[in-house]
């Protein structure tokens, strides 16, 4: 991957949260472990995985909404791993975030106009009058009628709220937007509206997305490449097509097979994965997936599989591949 094309890169990133019991650290939630990823300008990287596997944490570390335990975050050629909150402030113009929950991510006591113009205020862009114009423009762009500018979030449907969130994120013309499950809370019909909107914006302005979701259909649709996370580790990273034809990791396979598809001919044959995700505090030794893997071998219990390139641009972390 040519260097200049890379917009966002994380290298061997770790993010651990101390577990406090009665005030003292008693171990760590190892939310993200040894993750390396790159996102090129204008592309979408999908990140999938079960709930609690570290998707959000990884995303937040990328845009430095949280500190990093170890590793590096490079954005637009600049190492932002250790920048202070203050130093980051101007950079926030270039990296934005869209949240999963369209309810709690909008301040219930602010009007839509205030919400969307807030990044402009913080970044000191435009005069107040121009800002209002810009807000209208953005609302229009995101499929919201600008006459609603004085309404409050609760007066909108979930899909509309998510559009407000999107308008806020793109208000400052960012180069990179982290989409943290932007459609999981929405109805199918609304979901497709929002996805289309995001994709239109990308083709128009060349924003790069990190698109987090546990809905594989959606991720598959929007992404150029997809990373599959399991317990804070990337287990498979490949171009989207590879996931259709060439799923390599047993977890990826199980995941894709578990998607309930509309259709009655090839009903699911295999028993679904058994058991729950292990606790991220006591990660299993060896391959993190071995506790649920149908193909576990002795080696998997002791040895951590490296993320290897098995094909051009297709990385897998499994001893069996």
């Amino acid at each position: 991957m040519p260097e200049q094309e890379v917009l966002m890169a994380v290298e061997r990133l770790d993010k651990w949260f101390p577990v406090r019991k009665m005030g003292r650290a008693r171990g760590y939630v190892k939310a993200v472990n040894d993750v390396s990823l790159q996102i090129r300008r204008g592309e979408t990287l999908g990140i999938v995985g079960e709930s609690g596997c570290g998707k959000t944490t990884l995303g937040r570390a990328m845009i430095r909404l949280t500190d990093v335990t170890d590793g590096r975050v490079v954005f637009d050629g600049q190492d932002i791993t250790h920048l202070s909150e203050k130093e980051l402030r101007p950079l926030r113009r270039d990296m934005q975030i869209i949240f999963q929950d369209p309810y709690s991510s909008l301040n219930p006591r602010m009007t839509v106009g205030d919400i969307i113009s807030e990044p402009l205020v913080f970044q000191n862009m435009y005069t107040p009058a121009e800002r209002i114009e810009r807000v209208r423009e953005l609302m229009d762009l995101c499929g919201l009628d600008p006459i609603y500018i004085r309404r409050y979030p609760h007066e909108f449907s979930g899909g509309q709220r998510q559009r407000i969130g999107i308008a806020r994120a793109i208000a400052v013309n960012p180069k990179f937007v982290l989409c943290d499950e932007p459609v999981s809370a929405l109805d199918v019909s609304i979901q497709s509206q929002v996805i289309n909107l995001l994709m239109d914006l990308q083709s128009r302005t060349g924003i790069a997305y990190a698109f987090i979701s546990h809905n594989l259909n959606v991720v598959y649709h929007v992404s150029r490449r997809i990373a599959v996370l399991y317990l804070g580790r990337v287990v498979e990273l490949a171009d989207r097509e590879d996931f259709k034809t060439n799923r390599a990791h047993p977890y990826t396979k199980a995941l894709f097979e578990a998607i309930p598809q509309v259709g009655f001919d090839e009903q699911q044959k295999r028993a679904p994965l058994t058991g729950d995700l292990p606790s991220p505090v006591d990660l299993p030794d060896g391959c993190v997936f071995h506790t649920r893997c149908p193909y576990t071998q002795p080696r998997c219990r002791t040895e951590v599989p490296e993320l290897r390139e098995i094909d051009r641009g297709h990385f897998v972390a499994c001893h069996l591949v």
Binding site: E50, S51, D187, V188, P260, V262, D276
Partner: protein, 334 residues
């Protein structure tokens, strides 16, 4: 649908909410049957009245502002809506069990899961606390929770989402209900867990012979578990028939559009199919067909007249002027 007496017979059920903004027609003239041992799927977008249907059957609609205005809900020929409060307590949790959408908030965070399962058992079965405890542990084992004795004494927050939902199922099934209503039981869960839960419900249904109403907006889920499906839109039934038929040959434009808008690994499209617009406000419903503002096949008549739900030759019910000219008679309860 079936010749035998169905387990549950819902007829012309209307539930309205009387709010300051006006009357919300949350459920308007809905009828369906659930046969023994069968699964009825109810699909529809958010706000289409799915939950209100379930709550109306349980008579748990928040009153005020809600009220079941008319219709009947017959459980084995007995109209639930005419039961006294006391009889209702027996039916709830006894004859009909219910699972709610959000497993975290649906369990009381301050009581152990065991306590919450036992509560239901103690209310309905005549057994002492010890027996109830044993039965509760057995239920936990039945729904596939490892180490049920240990989990029995734990609080909801100590369990994962999947386990919590299993606990909800255990509560609902603890008294061998004849009917299990699942209101979006898997929406909050991951695909792998979702598959486990659906598998579990299917298994239990087979074991106990209960009927199931499965409410969801995930068409994939419905197609996996349902025998029949009811498609709802804005408080009205739009299409009602066997699941296989409805999904393979949708007759209502809304059903068709819904099916098409799901992104799919198989058919790779550049842009997703969308249904433009939003579900109309149920207190200010459009004139004519409720779906007309969003319908691709809209005809002038659709903007003026309400189509009636009419049966096709194969018994499938559809509410669309493309299928039949029948016009709905005026609403009785304005």
């Amino acid at each position: 649908m079936t010749d035998k007496q169905p387990l549950l017979k819902v007829r012309n059920l209307c539930t309205y909410f009387y709010t300051d903004e006006g009357i919300v027609y949350a459920l308007d003239d809905v009828s369906f049957d659930v046969a023994r041992g069968q699964t009825l799927g109810i699909v529809g977008e958010s706000g289409s009245g799915k939950s209100v249907t379930a709550l109306s059957i349980m008579r748990l609609v928040q009153t005020p502002p809600g009220r079941i205005v008319s219709g009947t809900v017959e459980l084995l020929g007995d109209d639930i809506l005419k039961k006294s409060k006391k009889e209702m307590k027996q039916i709830r949790g006894g004859k009909i069990g219910m699972i709610f959408q959000e497993p975290m908030t649906s369990l009381n965070p301050v009581y152990t899961v065991g306590n919450q399962i036992m509560e239901s058992i103690l209310l309905h079965g005549d057994c002492d606390r010890k027996q109830a405890r044993e039965r509760a542990i057995e239920m936990l084992r039945l729904v596939g929770i490892p180490l049920p004795e240990k989990r029995f004494g734990e609080y909801p927050h100590q369990l994962s989402g999947g386990m919590r939902q299993r606990v909800m199922i255990a509560i609902a099934l603890s008294c061998n209900p004849q009917l299990l209503i699942c209101d979006e039981p898997t929406t909050a869960l991951d695909v792998t867990i979702q598959a486990q839960i659906l598998e579990l419900i299917n298994e239990l249904k087979q074991k106990t012979g209960a009927s199931v109403i499965m409410i969801t907006h995930d068409l994939g889920v419905i197609s996996r578990v349902a025998d029949e499906v009811l498609v709802m839109y804005a408080g009205k039934a739009m299409e009602y028939g066997s699941a296989r038929d409805v999904f393979t040959q949708p007759r209502h434009p809304y059903t068709a559009a819904l099916l098409k808008s799901i992104p799919n690994l198989e058919d790779d499209v550049e842009r997703l199919h969308v249904i433009e617009g939003m579900v109309p406000s149920l207190s200010k419903r459009p004139a004519g067909c409720l779906f007309n503002p969003r319908c691709k096949h809209v005809m002038p008549v659709c903007r003026e007249k309400r189509p009636a739900l009419t049966a096709g030759p194969d018994g499938r019910l559809v509410r669309c002027f493309l299928q039949s000219d029948a016009i709905e008679k005026e609403e009785a309860h304005a």
